[in-house]
Amino acid sequence: MAMKFEKTGEGKYMLDVCGYVCPHPQIYCKKSLEKMAEGDVLEMIFDNPSSAETIVQMLDQAGHELKERRKEGGKIIFVIEKA
């Protein structure tokens, strides 16, 4: 098991923290957004439901936009645009 943070295209990034539990998904989400430029989009894949609530509130407070939120099996996928 390893976290993955990849550049998937121009202004597009992917963060995969499946298997990780609190606090790792929220910390890696915050760190990833810090590395990105304004308007860049992050697709975040994780499977720890407890992290979702924290991440949503963290995005709201920082002004980042949660453009899409879906579930695929046990995985949760957030598409986030950095403000």
Binding site: C22, K31, D47, E53, Q61
Partner: protein
Amino acid sequence: MEDKKSQIWAFIVTGLMILISLIYYKVNVYYIYVVVYIWFGFAYGMMLQYGRFCFASASRDLFAAGVPRMAVGILLGLIFFSLVAAFLTANEMTTFHAGPIGIHEVVGGLIFGVGMVLSGGCASGSLYKIGEGNGTSILAIVGISFGQAIFADVGGVFNKLLPKEWVNNALSQTRIPQEKITSWFDYFLVGNVFRKPKMTLDEAGFMSGFHGITKFLLSDAIINTIIPALALILIIYVFYIRKGFLKKRAKQKGGATGFGDELSGIWGMITASKRTSLMGVLIGLTAGLHIFVLKGMQIKFGIFNFGELLERMGHVSDLSTNGTVFDPGYWYITTQEAQFGAWVLEKFGWNMHDNVYFGFSNGLPEPWRNPALWMSIGIIFGAMVMALLNKEFKFKFPKGELIAWGLFGGLFMGLGARVALGCNIGAFFIRVAGGDPGGWLFGIGMVGGAFLGVKFFNWWSERKMAKEMEAF
């Protein structure tokens, strides 16, 4: 189809708990005492899972992500619990007892705080996360269980490190049999912690002019709990929410903001996560009801401790030399896990009765006759049912670094809980709401430890991110 399966499993787990309860009742009516623990545990588990209620998350998310929802939820829980607790104390319907007040709580809280951030959940949070299928939390509970059991019994070379004063104090007392004082922890307890003062705020001199419910509401609830909790909510608002909220508000209004906007900001922070705040309130009320019901059971059976019922049923080998078993009378985690760890170690030939913690104070009942352990099991299954109903149950086998974080985090939590005589529930939540100012000392240590844990994880994740970013 998957949804249906989850629902069926939720019913199966609930049915199993009902069946266990009926069997206990059928075996002996005294076991209704255990059944009460099971179902309060079950209720805590459901609420903890639904509200994602975790004390690790409270300070960790605040420091790591600037998210205050859990800290606010816990403070709301404290406020409501303190009101019920004051009412129960005034009516002599409480099982709460104050703990020793001293620096050991700050030190224990600090160790515990580091541990809960490492393992990803506090003592109660780890239990509810097991119910979600989180394998790392299983390792955390393993660490808590065996860490405490070993720490409570280890002497030998460690006893050479004991301060002379503790040894002399332990040797000069007559309440606890000398043959039970064998481990480092025994000397720490008998020669140091047990000698520290205990009090709830209603016993303070300045409260002598007050009587009845007014006295307990004013001292234990309002002064000891509600004012500090509200002050903390305000501090969290000022440091984490205010600036961003007022900026947004000013932009919306196109002008200056006022006092009304400040109040909206505070209210917005409280209601940002309704499920967490609502569960905070419900958990607070349930913890109060739990005390009330257990006190009622004790009055009904004419006992002060479940050990008396075990003795009536002939299970004397379960008891401590004091004639008791661990029966907190309220929501509590960690000692029952330590008992489980000690029970397992005894099966491998380790004598766990020759110390104060198990041998004199808490006993070592068989796990199926351990009321507090059943409460922990109830928490796991209650959380499992809630997770299944919300389609959030997924077994995650711990891998890689999470194995180390889970085990070491659990170990740290276990050590911290023993030093402080309790965890985030027994040494903080219950004590503060019960009017014991010592609970705040543990809270200060726990938050300090969480801060250090977050600093460590920030450093760790930064390293890993840098490695990942080498590719682009």
